[in-house]
């Protein structure tokens, strides 16, 4: 079984260094990332690397993909509007 790849960029964002129960699998993915923690190239065969890791189930990277696929979505205007409204003191 393999994890279906999503057409998104993967990798931790911000302060989210990947330090999970899947240990080495996560760190292996970090190799090749740039300083921002994002992979240098778009698609990566994450699932393949993960299946070779004895310690992590092969679906583990899917969980991260699930999260990252939402992080990488364009932010709906509603959120920008809300923050702008809050900042100007109006509710």
């Amino acid at each position: 079984m393999r994890i279906a790849d999503a057409r998104v960029q993967h990798g931790p964002r911000g302060d989210g260094s990947f330090e999970g129960p899947w240990g080495r699998g996560g760190r292996e993915r970090m190799a090749g990332s740039d300083k921002t923690g994002r992979p240098a190239k778009g698609r990566k065969p994450i699932a393949k690397a993960q299946t070779k890791t004895r310690r992590g189930p092969e679906w583990a990277s899917g969980l991260k993909q699930l999260y990252d696929s939402v992080v990488d979505e364009p932010l709906p205007d509603a959120f920008k509007d809300l923050l702008t409204r809050l900042d100007s003191g109006k509710r």
Partner: protein, 208 residues
């Protein structure tokens, strides 16, 4: 959220600008966490909006220089648990939206769709689900996740372990429910777990 026990320091204009910037930056992460918790994108986004309002109102309690992501995740999870108790979430899973962002690469046998993954995730009791989301998806350390959930590190490790085992079993046996929380068994498990949360083991105050 509890009342602060100490005088809050005055925030400078710089602090306030930084707060808004950091809060803005963390919104995509809040959306991802909320989506993992409650499945439906529109419900998840409502939860994020609620979180932003609460975070804004509580901004004097944010310690500049600490993790905005951790701080806002606490607010989000507390709002989620409160809403769960009010039965606001029906846990309907938005299959169409999930499929849209997914592609099954050509030539792969038996791919695990992220949508299956998400449905399986949604069958987990909320405490295990959030533990797995924080550590396995959000990249928080066990220690950070424990702080966010207001529990011991060992508790988080055990929740993540159980969540992993449950997901592994479901995925490897191909036993992924059609409808996550609508499934009566899963729903009952969640409500039982929520009773524990309501008894005071789940809610935490924002960390400093």
């Amino acid at each position: 959220m509890s009342k602060p026990e100490r005088e809050l320091p005055q925030r400078s204009a710089d602090d306030k600008r930084a707060f808004k910037r950091e809060l803005t930056e963390v919104v995509p992460h809040l959306r991802a966490f909320a989506r993992g918790l409650c499945g439906r994108p529109d419900v998840a986004d409502d939860l994020v909006q609620e979180t932003l309002l609460k975070a804004w109102a509580a901004q004097d309690r944010f310690e500049p220089g600490t993790s905005m992501r951790a701080w806002t995740f606490v607010i989000l999870r507390n709002a989620y648990l409160t809403d769960m108790r009010r039965n606001r979430f029906r846990g309907e899973y938005d299959e169409t939206a999930a499929e849209r962002i997914l592609t099954a690469p050509a030539g792969q046998e038996e791919p695990i769709h992220l949508s299956d993954m998400h449905r399986a995730l949604l069958t987990l009791p909320p405490e295990r689900r959030e533990a797995l989301l924080l550590v396995g998806a959000g990249g928080f350390s066990y220690e950070e996740a424990a702080q966010i959930c207001g529990c011991a590190v060992g508790t988080i490790k055990s929740r993540v372990g159980r969540a992993r085992a449950a997901l592994s079993a479901m995925i490897e046996e191909g036993n992924i429910p059609e409808r996550a929380i609508g499934d009566p068994t899963a729903h009952r498990a969640i409500l039982e777990e929520l009773d524990d949360v309501a008894a005071g083991r789940g809610l935490s105050t924002p960390i400093k």
